[in-house]
Symmetry: C2
Subunit: 226 residues, 2 copies
Amino acid sequence: MTKKDVAGETPPPRAKRLPRAVRERQILDAAVRVFSERGYHPASMDEVSEVAGISKPMIYAYLGSKEELFAACIQRETTRMMEAIGGVVDVNLDPEEQLWRGVLAFFTFVGENRDSWQVLHRQAGTQGAPFAAELAEGRRRAIALISVLLDRAASKEGVGAFAEGQTEPLAAALTGAGEALAEWWLEHPDESPKAMARRLMNLSWMGFGNLVDGKAWHPEKQPEKA
Amino acid sequence: MTKKDVAGETPPPRAKRLPRAVRERQILDAAVRVFSERGYHPASMDEVSEVAGISKPMIYAYLGSKEELFAACIQRETTRMMEAIGGVVDVNLDPEEQLWRGVLAFFTFVGENRDSWQVLHRQAGTQGAPFAAELAEGRRRAIALISVLLDRAASKEGVGAFAEGQTEPLAAALTGAGEALAEWWLEHPDESPKAMARRLMNLSWMGFGNLVDGKAWHPEKQPEKA
């Protein structure tokens, strides 16, 4: 990521070319790192340029202003997170296994990408209107994905409790619970992704009703059905 | 709330006096209304003064700058919400009834105080750093309260799944789920507080495990224990 651009500060049109997608990825990787380490306001485009090894004019040409670059970071990180979750969920599995895989993939992603989670969540949530809107849009995308997964689980099992437009609010609640746990995790970094994922399973799969009955959720020993 | 201050624009020291607490409440009522209707930036202190019927100099003297006034609104509304929840939860009830009452009180409060919920949540979440910090602080207070309630429920039932420092992250997850559902509710205003509260019970008390088995949570007919 600190590799210098061979073209130097002001690349001539005939400089050795990388595909645009590759350059954009380098810029976004650098920007996520700089924004999360410095915070949005103190971060400078000079620093992004330095870390990316790509000239400032090229950054502006590809991804626009600092504000636009930050918005692009949020979009990119949201997409990566959703790909990580979507990649492990298999509609042929039973709902419990799908939920466990999705939840574990979420916390694994957050754990491996503390930088990007911070960009996504803390920074975006504290920098005011345009980024809060990006964050809300990312949340809507996540809710839509989870809602589709719950709908599929419901239609496969043929059950009524999930049906009739009930999945979207439940997906919103699950998303909010996941975000809140990931936020809590930042203050308790010694916890493993698996331990965090089990907490969300305890809430969302088991429910407090089972917990007060002494039944907790375990990945290895899945609880007997009532 | 639109009652005019008898002292007019610049009240002399000997103007007919209201206790400070009453004036502050009038100012905060007016500010919550103006901020939520206009948004933080477009809202003016002139308008707050007009709606409160209290002169601008007195507002500045009592509650400080526009920024400080907005922060005071968030604190006051958080306190009101927590009093509403704390007021219905009775430690002598069983955990299920406590959770149901608390969850219903939350959605009843949000439903009756859409203005203040907006101030609390949307505006604070989109206005940048100082208010995001107030919001985070309010969230911490809510998590601490719910955590204490869950701890009490756990010690009363003598169960292990809630014990050993497990209640705080579960309280955080429940808070996040509640916030996300309240946010979803803003886009679906026809839903009743009770319908929203049942959704949160379905997630947090029953869990998806019960829902895919066709067991949903009902306030009247509480589900048989497994």
